[in-house]
């Protein structure tokens, strides 16, 4: 039986996987069938091995074999010959079976292993071939690239040569051009000289020629346009001409000098005014408006400015080098301060802008309001409709009445006459009105003309006024008026901020925080407007309208911030007006 199984194993080694599996089944079945020992397939071999006749030999043989394999002996040597020990036989058989099974198991494992390694091998071979291909390919590519590089290098070399040649060519051409230019210039000069000579010759010839001379036929000579007689040319005339020339030149320089002086004075005035504006803008800053940390420094600065201002005013009158330097320096300082301040305000404003976006009226509230308003509109429409209907009814009824009255003629007659009279009177009135209206239109036209003239007068007067102004004390009056006008502009700007800061805020919020635009903030202008409305008139939030209040008090720390912004905007407005003043 082991032999047969070995045989089977041998065949299975070389067999395909399919046969292997079938074999396994078969072996398993054989294993299962073994205990029965009634397997029809095994029967012949067994029968061939052991027959009734050779049992003892068989037993002896088996015994020997078994002992050689290290199993306990099957038969014990007893007195009446070898006696088969059934228990050991069974044990041995069982052991053998176990061994057989284990062997089969290991065989199977090995087979699997082998299959695996086979497939592995296949894979590796495949990949190997692929890699080989790749290698080949890259080698080929490499050679190709090398070839190309070589070609390119060749090309570069040739191009270098070309460039060199071209450069040489250019140089040659340049030299040619230069030589041509010189030649041309030379030729030109030569030609010109020849031309000059020819001209000279021609001139001479023409002078020498007698037949057709230049002539002037005049009936009688006319007097000079200035009525004077011409003077003899003497040394004096030359001196006179020189003198005249220099006087005209001097006059020109004088006028120019005057213009420059005037311009200078104006510029100085503007500078002064700008400085004043700056001082006034920078000095009245309240600690509540911008954080306390800047305050002390700024106040210090303002006091400094005042000093500088005074000194510069003196210096303006001196208008010497040193003073000018001082003035410009102080202006520069203040400008720097103003710039930093504005920048700070900008940053604050942008912060506030962000907040404003946050605190904008939520969409739901908006929609609610819209719905409510729509409803109201609908109501009003209905109302109007009913009213119209009522009116129609009322109109219809009197119409019937009239038809009734039409029946009695007397009424009618009277009415007609009355109407005619009325008509006449109306006609007259209309004519009068017409005439009056014409008069009025004429008057209006005249008025508009007058107004235009007046406007122009005023403009010229203003211009005059402005041009006549000097920053010095010699013309105190115009200066006063100027300052007044400046004040009036200021007053305007103070009245106006309701609209301007809103705009400014809007722009700020849009520019500085364009990212926050996506949030439901299409309404910031109105919010800003509210805010400005609420905050401009007074600093305390007591006058806030309840509705706006509710919208703003949603986030607690907003009011203070808003006041900042508002202050900033206010100041911004001032600076703008100031600038405008400066530029005017």
């Amino acid at each position: 039986m082991p032999e047969s199984s070995l045989e089977i194993k041998d065949t299975s080694c070389s067999s395909s996987r399919y046969r292997m599996s079938s074999l396994r089944q078969y072996s398993q079945s054989s294993v299962l069938a073994l205990p029965m020992t009634r397997n029809p397939y095994n029967m012949p071999t067994i029968s061939a091995f052991c027959t009734e006749d050779n049992v003892s030999e068989c037993i002896a043989y088996i015994n020997r074999e078994v002992s050689s394999l290290g199993f306990p002996l099957l038969c014990t040597e007893s007195n009446n010959g070898p006696e088969l020990n059934l228990v050991t036989v069974l044990n041995n058989v069982y052991n053998l079976l176990q061994l057989h099974r284990r062997c089969l198991q290991t065989v199977e494992d090995i087979e699997v292993e082998q299959v695996k390694s086979n497939s592995n091998m296949d894979y590796l071979q495949l990949s190997n071939t692929r890699l080989k291909d790749q290698l080949e390919l890259s080698k080929r590519e490499n050679t190709g690239l090398l070839e190309r590089e070589r070609q390119l290098q060749l090309k570069v070399k040739s191009l270098h040569n070309c460039l060199k040649n071209e450069k040489e060519e250019v140089q040659k051409l340049q030299s040619v051009i230069a030589s041509r230019a010189t030649q041309y210039n030379h030729d030109m000069k030569r030609k010109e000289r020849e031309f000059g000579k020819l001209k000279e010759r021609l001139n001479q010839l023409l002078i020498d020629k007698k037949d057709k001379k230049q002539t002037l036929e005049v009936l009688n000579y006319v007097g000079r346009s200035d009525g004077k007689r011409s003077l003899w040319k003497t040394g004096k005339t030359e001196a006179r001409h020189e003198g005249e020339m220099y006087t005209t030149l001097l006059n020109d320089y004088d006028s120019r000098h005057k213009h420059l002086l005037m311009e200078n004075a104006e510029l100085k005035k503007v500078l002064q005014q700008m400085k004043m504006d700056m001082v006034t803008i920078l000095s009245p800053r309240k600690p509540s408006q911008s954080g306390k940390k800047h305050d002390d420094s700024l106040e210090q600065a303002s006091s400094e400015e005042d000093e500088v201002c005074d000194s510069s005013r003196e210096s303006l009158e001196l208008s010497c080098e040193h003073a000018r330097e001082q003035l410009t320096n102080s202006i520069r300082q203040q400008w720097r301060r103003l710039k930093s301040h504005v920048e700070r305000l900008d940053s604050q404003a942008s912060l506030v802008g962000e907040r404003a976006n946050m605190s904008a009226i939520p969409k739901e509230v908006h929609e609610e309001e819209m719905d409510r308003l729509k409803l109201e509109i609908q109501q009003y429409k209905d109302f109007i409709h009913t009213q119209q209907q009522l009116l129609q009814q009322q109109l219809n009824f009197p119409c019937d009445d009239e038809t009734a009255s039409l029946l009695n003629d007397c009424y009618m007659q009277k009415e007609k006459e009355r109407l005619k009279e009325d008509w006449k009177s109306f006609e007259e009135k209309r004519k009068n009105f017409e005439a009056e209206r014409r008069n009025f239109t004429e008057a209006a036209i005249r008025l508009s003309h007058e107004r235009k003239a007046f406007e122009e007068d005023r403009a010229t007067w203003l211009k005059h006024q402005f041009l006549n102004l000097t920053p010095f004390g010699d013309q105190m009056k115009p200066q006063m008026s100027k300052s007044q006008s400046a004040l009036s502009v200021w007053a305007e700007s103070e009245v106006r901020p309701v609209s301007t800061p809103a705009k400014l805020n809007k722009s700020l919020s849009h520019t500085a925080f364009s990212t926050s635009r996506a949030s439901p903030a299409k309404t910031p202008p109105t919010a800003d407007l509210y805010r400005t409305h609420r905050l401009i008139p007074e600093k305390s939030p007591s006058t806030i309208h309840p509705k706006q209040d509710s919208s703003i008090l949603r986030n607690g720390d907003v009011p203070a911030q808003l006041r900042h912004a508002n202050g900033g905007a206010n100041r911004r407005a001032y600076t703008f007006t100031g600038d405008r003043n400066g530029s005017i």
């Binding site: 023409l206 057709k212 230049q214 036929e217 000579y221 007097g223 030149l249």
Partner: protein, 453 residues
């Protein structure tokens, strides 16, 4: 706006006297002097040949008529119609003739620019100035008539001579640092002389009256240079138009560039207004035209009407690419004019022949662009008001003022094509010159006078 009847003229010779009283026109060899207001003929003079050049003397008493081919100049007097003067330059020839500012001397340039002959009408004196240079603008008189600058060329070098016009005394004579001087022009205040080089080199030299070199300006090198030059009436600005299609403005204090006006093909300057002339042909026999209208429109019926439309920016201006291989390519700023109040500058770039640019000199920026349907022939500022008149060689007159733009049909019979326009010195009327005709155009004075008052 009213138009006078049409008169004949030849060679575009039609001049209003400096005092604004008379209008002199040449018809072949006849000189006709009319009263400007009544247009009645006051005098009629007959010259010896067809008149080529005609000029009023500064005091409006004499008229010079030049016949270059014959080398003849005839002078006529308004006060004494019998008086005559004939100058014969003889075989030396004549290429140019002009009055001196005093109106008593005549300067004749001979052929080949051999010399300038100064003939005096007061005395028998004849003086010669040698070596005048043949160039774009070789002679210029200062505005007050005191001085004359003359470009000279001797020994291959450029010189400028400054003469006192009173007695032709040579005041200054100096060499200029130019390769090939192209022109001289006095500033309107007569104290600065601008001298510029030929187009081969961009160079402007500014000389004081006493011959000192004040400044030199050159914007670039190795390219075609200056094409035109104009002083502002206040002498404050000097505008230089060049072949690079730019106008550079110099100031009168440092003589440095104040600004640069570019003439781009695409206008997207938001401060500028672009007026575009749009032509529309009248529909003949349209039902809404009554017979009367037909009759009144008779002359204009076959002409196209046009109006200006304001174009939304950006605007693409038509550009004609010049042939750069030929001499004097049609590119660059060829004509410039300041308005009388110094406020505006009108320019024309040759590669955009249909367009006139108006610049604001206060803002130093583009103010208006006038795009015409055909090439602009000539433009001139009103001597009194900021008002620009231009013509394009058709039967229309165009006017621009800061308030807007109008196109006016000239109601003259038979194809009156306006070749050039000249303002009367009062600014109340315009002289329109056609090919062989002329016509006066009267502005409506009343309203504007009111406006001014």
């Amino acid at each position: 706006m009213n138009f006078s009847e049409v008169f004949k003229q030849s060679n575009q010779l039609c001049r209003v006297s400096p005092d604004g009283k008379y209008l002199a026109t040449c018809v072949q060899y006849r000189l006709v002097v009319r009263d400007v207001n009544t247009l009645q003929i006051l005098h009629l003079y007959t010259c010896l040949d067809q008149i080529v050049h005609m000029e009023w003397s500064s005091d409006s008493l004499f008229i010079l008529c030049a016949m270059y081919k014959r080398g003849l100049v005839q002078v006529w007097s308004l006060e004494q119609p019998d008086w005559y003067c004939k100058i014969d330059e003889g075989s030396i020839g004549l290429v140019s003739s002009r009055w001196s500012p005093d109106g008593r001397h005549i300067l004749n340039t001979t052929e080949f620019h051999l010399r300038v002959t100064v003939w005096s009408l007061c005395t028998k004196a004849v003086s010669y100035i040698k070596y005048p240079k043949a160039c774009q603008k070789g002679i210029d008189f200062s505005r007050d008539g005191c001085y004359m600058a003359l470009a000279e060329r001797r020994d291959c070098r450029d010189y400028v001579s400054v003469f006192v016009c009173d007695d032709w005394h040579l005041l200054r004579h100096f060499e200029t640092e130019t390769q090939d001087l192209a022109g001289v022009e006095w500033s309107p205040n007569g104290c600065v002389l601008a001298v510029w080089d030929s187009c081969l080199e961009y160079k402007v030299l500014l000389y004081s009256l006493d011959g000192r070199l004040l400044s030199t300006f050159s914007a670039y090198e190795w390219s075609l240079g200056i094409k035109s030059l104009a002083w502002s009436p206040s002498s404050q600005f000097l505008a230089i138009g060049s072949y690079d299609e730019k106008v550079r403005i110099l100031n009168h204090i440092t003589w440095k560039k104040v600004t640069e006006f570019d003439h781009p093909a695409t206008i997207n300057n938001t401060k500028a207004v672009v007026y575009k002339e749009v032509e529309r042909k009248p529909v003949v026999g349209s039902p809404d035209l009554s017979i009367q209208q037909h009759i009144t429109m008779g002359s204009t019926l076959f002409n196209t009407q046009s109006k200006y439309e304001i174009c939304p920016l950006p605007v693409q201006v038509p550009v004609v690419k010049p042939d750069l291989d030929r001499a004097n390519p049609k590119v660059g700023v060829s004509s410039m004019a300041f308005s009388s109040d110094n406020r505006y500058l009108a320019t024309k770039n040759d590669s955009m022949a249909c367009v006139v640019w108006v610049w604001d000199m206060q803002r130093l920026g583009l103010l208006a662009v006038l795009e015409q349907t055909s090439a602009v022939r000539c433009f001139q500022w009103d001597p009194r008001r900021p008002r620009l008149a231009l013509c394009t060689g058709n039967a229309k007159l165009y006017l621009w003022s800061p308030a807007g733009c109008v196109s006016v049909q000239v109601p003259a019979e038979g194809g009156f094509q306006v070749q050039s326009v000249t303002w009367h010195c009062s600014g109340d009327s315009l002289i329109l010159l056609g090919k062989e005709q002329l016509c006066l155009c009267y502005m409506e004075v009343g309203e504007e006078e009111d406006d001014i008052k």
